[in-house]
Symmetry: C2
DNA sequence: ACCAAAGTTTGATAACTGTCCAGTATTCGA
DNA sequence: TCGAATACTGGACAGTTATCAAACTTTGGT
């Protein structure tokens, strides 16, 4: 278990040259993680990937853990931006908006970056509290976005029921990652799974009755 | 990328003492992987975990890759056995059998072993062909078991439609792993998600019409 | 143009990695 | 019980790891 530091990582680099170097290091670090995996994620491999000396990478990121934290912060920020954009979809019904979010999520899951990144993060989160916490915060915001649309589709549901349905929908979609993601065995089935997801998660959100989830749990507790 | 060897790994150990040692090594290797993660999965750490000398582990498993392959073979065999048992559920309707399989899968996903093991395997599969292939074969058999029940519930579906639905159901359930699995952030929601899964995946399998999936894909291609 | 701060190079450190091997101990069939 | 096969020990090997520090170059505000 790692120390859990809640402070936001400070991105190094003061002079222009420094910030450009830091950018190059982060870009190389991500490509190493995605193309070669966590085992190859070493300072030396990253330095080689951006044509730098090991000592220079080590100067900007004195601790390897710091590099990981800054990298993750950058990545999650870019995902949050994408997520914010999906909320600002005007001229669409609640149903169409939920369909859009589902399509966007599954489209993103099929990308190389997301498939590789999140499978690695889920594994690292098992024994790295910093990563576990950042992943949790990210998915909380995903659930919130989905929840807004679920609540709009079915206003009688309680906040907790909305959270439960959002979790179900989100988790179901994320499950596509190791099976239908980038270069995964059933990637060719993604259109079918995306179609079923859009249809049935909307149907689920619309037709669940208040109190029905509790009733289902009791039946088979 | 690793070399893809299709031959089944040969478990070392000829004398009784040797097989017992091999068992102890494999048990220790698994516990290291689950308790400390892939980064700690070293010969020395494994040897320490079972109170052996490094040279002895290295004698039984001259290559580290060999240890991984034998370990995975053992693990997947035990999962296959569990899966076979789930098929032999007599005196149950097709609907009840699908419900049972769903409950079993999600119950298993919530266990420490499965949560930790498969998150690690999904990550390792990104860059290790042997692991990727074994994981694929395992899930193929999972899909087949689910498919039998789906076909029984809805006999008019084509084999490909049955496969697609099985993939959807399986992937959706596996998605619970990083969110509702062992010590994961939303583990306390597992009863609710299990109830929704049992109810709605059965409903899905029963009510999808032949040709409906293709129609859904066309609508939003 | 100066010059302190920032950035970079070079080389070293100790700790760790998988693999190997000569020597020794144990096992178990003949 | 003998002895060849098997199992185990202790140590060594070359290569890798993250981190550090002294010397050198570049930067950019004054």
């Amino acid at each position: 278990m790692t120390e859990l530091v809640t402070d936001a990582p400070v991105r190094p680099g003061v002079y222009l040259r420094g910030t450009e170097t830091v950018d190059a290091i982060l870009k190389a670090a991500l490509s190493v993680l995605l193309d070669e995996g966590a085992a190859a994620f070493t300072i030396r491999r990253i330095a080689a990937a951006c044509g730098m000396k090991v000592g220079n990478v080590s100067y900007h990121f004195p601790r390897k853990e710091m590099l990981i934290q800054v990298l993750l912060d950058d990545l999650f920020n870019s995902y949050d931006v994408k997520l914010e954009l999906s909320v600002r979809q005007p001229n669409l019904s609640a149903e169409e908006r939920l369909r859009t979010v589902i399509a966007m999520c599954l489209d993103d899951i099929a990308s190389k970056r997301t498939t590789r990144l999140f499978t690695e993060l889920w594994a690292l989160a098992n024994h790295n509290d910093f990563i576990a916490e950042r992943v949790r915060i990210f998915y909380s915001s995903v659930h919130e976005v989905i929840g807004e649309h679920v609540a709009a589709l079915n206003p009688r549901l309680s906040p907790d029921e909305v959270r439960t349905l959002s979790l179900f929908i989100s988790a179901s979609m994320e499950g596509a990652t190791p099976f239908l993601g980038y270069q995964k065995p059933w990637a060719n089935k993604m259109p079918a799974i995306a179609a079923i997801s859009a249809e049935w998660f909307v149907k689920l959100a619309k037709s669940i009755e208040p109190g029905e989830i509790s009733r289902m749990i009791e039946q088979r507790g």
